[in-house]
Symmetry: C2
Subunit: 119 residues, 2 copies
């Protein structure tokens, strides 16, 4: 059992929209990810998702309007709410979400990552 250094873990990968598992608690995974560009609109029927920005900033597009999230801030997308992350420049993020959560939610396309890597 040891502390996990977030910045050190983030240095281990460079691919976008491909979350890596770094921990688990209470039926959720803790993941790290880098985003750049637009993702896809999707929702998770039964799962909330937490996005904590470690470095940079991004826009969470929602049907009700955009939310800007920058380093030191977090945002929780409630279950059922359609969303699309969008980052003009690279943003580094910690995610906490149910183990059952698929990155593209109700959408299955070329951006879906079914088997997440652990780092």
């Amino acid at each position: 059992m040891q502390a996990i250094n977030i910045t050190q873990k983030l240095a281990l990968f460079s691919d976008y929209f491909s979350p890596k598992i770094v921990g688990e608690l209470n039926e959720n995974y803790v993941k790290l990810a880098k985003f750049q560009g637009d993702f896809v609109w999707h929702h998770h029927e039964h799962e909330d998702e937490l996005f904590l920005v470690i470095k940079g900033k991004f826009t969470m597009k929602l049907r009700s309007g955009n939310v800007e999230i920058k380093a030191g801030e977090f945002f929780i997308v409630p279950r059922g709410v359609e969303h699309c992350p969008s980052a003009q420049e690279e943003v580094q993020i910690m995610l906490i979400e149910a183990k059952t959560t698929l990155n593209t939610g109700n959408i299955n396309n070329e951006r879906t990552v079914a088997e997440l890597q652990r780092i």
Copy 2:
């Protein structure tokens, strides 16, 4: 729906070992807390706990040895594992834990906070 600025929320209180609720996801609460000094040895029978250090550092005392956790690092105490947080100087922490988790776990004493404030 809006982003939560962690530092702004932490500025709203100054009491130690008294976590405040700032969000919820998937049957867990996101909490912020400040620790200084030694807490009490306890465990949570069925719940894992995540401690993410926002500012400062602290020691998680475990029966198997101490773990040092500093800003930018997180540590997950698995269910059933006895632990005692200890901070020589003030440390500011984000916690993620099941809604059912009591701060003092299996111990009920003067440091137990049964009704958590939302900020």
